[in-house]
């Protein structure tokens, strides 16, 4: 391809990228194969035909056609140290290019690592168990040299990124807004860490706002950038399930972490398991599947209760379930009087058998 030709192609994709930020991907997908001249010159009505009364789309398209200046955009990106990769470029991530509906352009702060990647997604309002699992998985994947892809949202996303950062590994955060917009704001510090350990990625140009419809749309990029998608914990109708279905469309392996039956926070992820998703019941086995290293060399952990736990603590532990439960409920189930139960629970917490969440409920932890 000639240099000028490539520059025009690149400009076309940047144009489409800006268009997509306004009207979504359904229109843009039809224009991807046209020549740059056709995209820049042809009036909307001719390009789209009689698709009905999408007046707003027509107005936006005309406005963009009149004022578009690819050179200025390139300059602006260069000045901010942000790179843009378009479908016309060779370094566009291969996995994503072959996924359905790839974004015309990706804006990057940092660099997408050249490493196997796994997407870790889940509910923003996950249980403490979910958060802990996401963190551990992020850590374990990063230690194996796997890049952790997620959406930099609260809850599971943040925990997964944090796990990877803590392990000093690689991670990529895919945003539903411009990469210079920090949303949610409480993740500011995490944004910086992710930038240092990989990249912030978005299909939206600088300064674009975090509109509600952009988050389900960016989920296809999360699935597209990874070779496997893991749903850590998701209720029904969770955005994480959208990521999982994008993953299936793109032919990715979809895994889910099993949760206790009937618990609201786990119904979505358990539903995926019922539909045939991979069961992430054992971390070494999962790691071996997504990033083979030939034998784990690790002994499988012993799931039985450790011997030597004093009677009261063992009885207290029997009252704590996989689902968070208040102290009174634990007392009823274990049949221990309150003045003995409280010390036992605190000791179990210190020994790592149980976890106390933000509203004072106790839940079992994976055996340390």
């Amino acid at each position: 391809m000639e240099d000028s030709e490539r520059r025009d192609e690149r400009a076309k994709h940047l144009f489409l990228s800006h268009l997509q930020a306004m009207v979504g991907s359904s229109l843009v997908a039809r224009l991807g194969n046209l020549s740059p001249e056709a995209v820049f010159e042809t009036p909307y009505s001719e390009l789209v035909g009689n698709t009905g009364n999408f007046r707003k789309a027509e107005r936006l398209f005309d406005g963009l056609q009149r004022g578009f200046d690819a050179g200025a955009i390139e300059d602006q990106l260069a000045a901010r140290g942000i790179s843009a990769i378009t479908l016309a470029d060779e370094d566009y991530p291969g996995l994503l290019r072959n996924a359905p509906d790839p974004p015309p352009a990706l804006y990057l702060d940092g660099a997408i690592p050249d490493a196997p990647s796994v997407a870790l997604v889940g509910s923003r309002k996950a249980s403490s168990t979910g958060i802990e699992t996401a963190n551990k998985l992020g850590c374990a994947l990063a230690e194996r040299g796997v890049c952790v892809v997620s959406g930099l949202a609260l809850g599971v996303d943040a925990a997964a990124h944090q796990g990877a950062v803590d392990a000093g590994g690689l991670t990529v955060g895919v945003l539903g807004c411009g990469i210079d917009v920090v949303y949610p704001r409480s993740n500011r510090a995490l944004f910086d860490s992710v930038r240092r350990h990989g990249a912030l990625v978005s299909e939206y140009f600088l300064g674009e706002a975090p509109l509600a419809w952009r988050f389900p749309a960016r989920n296809r990029i999360i699935a597209g950038l990874a070779s496997s998608v893991v749903v850590v914990e998701a209720p029904e109708h969770s955005g994480a399930l959208i990521t999982a279905s994008h993953g299936l469309e793109a032919g990715r392996d979809v895994w889910a972490v099993p949760g206790p039956p009937g618990v609201r926070e786990c119904r979505g992820s358990n539903g995926l398991l019922a539909d045939g998703a991979g069961v992430l019941w054992d971390v070494p086995e999962f790691l071996e599947a997504v990033a083979p290293r030939g034998g784990t060399g690790l002994e499988p952990p012993d799931p039985s209760l450790p011997a030597g736990l004093p009677d009261t603590e063992a009885a207290a532990l029997s009252g704590v379930g996989l689902e968070p439960r208040g102290v009174d409920a634990v007392a009823r189930r274990s049949g221990i009087v309150m003045s003995e139960l409280l010390p036992a629970l605190a000791l179990l917490e210190l020994k790592g058998f149980v976890h106390r969440d933000a509203v004072g409920a106790y839940v079992r932890r994976a055996v340390p």
């Binding site: 009823r332 010390p343 933000a358």
Partner: protein, 502 residues
């Protein structure tokens, strides 16, 4: 001699200071003026006194009447000078012998028909009279039983001005009012711990709080029984001693909330969250005790803590630290006692349903964080016990065995308090600094457990002290000399959730 003196008393904070009412009746144009820094209510005494005297069948002197309230630099307020002014005028104009007024204090408000109305702060007045060396105190009939509690001063209750003149003028013999017999019990008006089904965790936390006078935050969804539990807190605190009863009654009487009797129950105050700063802490242009002082030796319950105004809550810091409120004015500085157990309740999140199994919480993490951040950190630092009160399902309520009554809990609390008073002279919640380290020294197992907890749970310095204090109380409840590992472990349960900071 036409100058005549009557002794009276004026309420200043919750203490009464002596005031001398000097009356001069001299020839001249008829007139009546009051000097000596009187406020509006005292100025209006002129009209009440004039009419009350004539309506009682006496003659108001057609001369120049000047009343001086001494000391002149003390601001006098309220209508309690009506009676001494009237008596003084009648004595100065010869209706009774002035000599009889010596060593007798007189206070009371007059009505136009010559009746004597009740006043504020009768108990403080009696105490002030005793301190001043007065032998007798003449005051409204309504307030006599309250004042008689002090002893050492003969208290005479009056219904009318005429009765007072007859009594002081030696025409009438009355027996001094006897203090109401102490019925000894303080039945808790049916508010018993046994009424609350389930919530054994919260009850245990309140028992520990009562035993060590620790302040408590209860967090839970609406309808979980936080208010019900709080109302039963005074019932598990040890009964008031006589000294405490007098202090509590003084505050209530000074604020005008008294009913002429001694307060025998620990007060329970539950101000609404729209309360103003001076409503909560005390103050105003005519300073009055606030809710925190009305809860003196009792429980102040702040329902929906995050809804309270920040400045109002900040004003609680001094009373929580020092046990009293100081109100500074240009004219004077007042001090109201305010030694309270602070009980607060809050929802875990703005919608109230975080962690509730029956109803999903709709709040975002940011909303929850902002909600919890509304509570002032310094106030939270003075709270030792944090307890979650979940809402119980009907099934859980049905399965619950019947609960223990307040009386049994109170016996344990009383014993633990006794241990603390004998050891350090104050409840454990007052321990800090070096005294805390001495009293809460940990041995062997307990020390090992505690250092592990500090490391694992990331306790701050203050969080560290809170756990120690509460562990000391748990040990006192168990009757142990030293603090054992299980006492520290139980105390760890009462630490705050990470949302409120460690």
């Amino acid at each position: 001699m036409s100058v005549c003196r009557a002794r009276s008393l004026s309420l200043f904070g919750i203490d009464a200071l002596p005031v001398e009412v000097e009356v001069d009746v001299s020839p001249g144009l008829p007139g009546f003026s009051i000097v000596g820094l009187p406020d509006a209510a005292v100025q209006e005494a002129r009209e009440r006194v004039r009419v009350a005297i004539s309506n009682s069948g006496y003659k108001f002197p057609m001369k120049r009447v000047i009343v001086n309230l001494a000391p002149a630099n003390l601001r006098k307020e309220g209508p309690a000078f009506d009676l001494p002014i009237a008596i003084g005028i009648l004595a100065a104009s010869g209706a009774l012998a002035p000599a009889r007024l010596e060593r007798a204090g007189v206070v009371g408000e007059l009505s136009l028909d010559g009746g004597v109305r009740g006043i504020k702060g009768a108990l403080s007045m009696a105490e002030g009279a005793k301190k001043e060396g007065l032998r007798r105190l003449v005051l409204p009939q309504r307030d006599a039983p309250e004042a008689a509690v002090i002893g050492g001063v003969e208290v005479f209750g009056m219904r009318t001005l005429k009765e007072a003149v007859d009594f002081l003028g030696d025409g009438l013999r009355l027996a001094p009012t006897e203090p109401a017999p102490d019925n000894g019990t303080d039945d808790l008006a049916g508010e018993d711990f046994a009424d609350v089904t389930g919530q054994r965790y919260a009850k245990r936390a309140l028992e520990v709080a009562a035993a060590g006078a620790h302040n408590v935050v209860m967090s839970g969804p609406p309808g979980s029984g936080k208010t019900m539990l709080a109302r039963r807190m005074p019932g598990i605190l040890p009964p008031l001693t006589m000294e405490e009863r007098i202090e509590v009654t003084k505050v209530h009487s000074a604020s005008g909330e008294g009913n002429g009797e001694l307060v025998t129950h620990r007060p329970f105050r539950s101000p609404h969250h729209t309360v103003s700063t001076s409503g909560l802490a005390g103050g105003g242009s005519n300073p009055r005790p606030g809710e925190v002082s009305l809860a003196h030796h009792g429980v102040l319950f702040l329902d929906e803590l995050p809804e309270f105004g920040r400045t109002a809550l900040e004003a609680l810091r001094q009373p929580l630290e020092d046990g009293h409120v100081t109100i500074s004015r240009v004219a004077a500085t007042l001090c109201y006692p305010a030694r309270i157990t602070l009980l607060c309740s809050m929802n875990p999140c703005p919608c109230g349903h975080a962690g509730d199994k029956r109803k999903a919480c709709r709040c975002t993490a940011g909303q929850i964080e902002r909600y919890q951040a509304r509570i002032s950190g310094p106030l939270l630092d003075r709270m030792d016990i944090f307890v979650d009160v979940p809402r119980l399902t009907r099934q859980e309520l049905r399965d619950e065995p019947s609960a223990e009554g307040s009386a049994a809990v109170r016996d344990r609390v009383r014993m633990a308090r006794g241990t603390q008073t004998a050891r350090q002279g104050s409840p454990n919640s007052m321990l800090s600094g070096r005294r805390l380290r001495e009293v809460c020294a940990l041995g062997g197992d307990a020390e090992a457990l505690f250092s592990r907890a500090v490391e694992t749970l990331g306790l701050s310095g203050r969080g560290h002290d809170r756990v120690l204090r509460v562990a000391r109380t748990v040990a006192d409840l168990a009757g142990g000399e030293g603090i054992a590992a299980e006492h520290v472990a139980e105390a760890l349960n009462y630490r705050r959730s990470h949302l409120l900071g460690r």
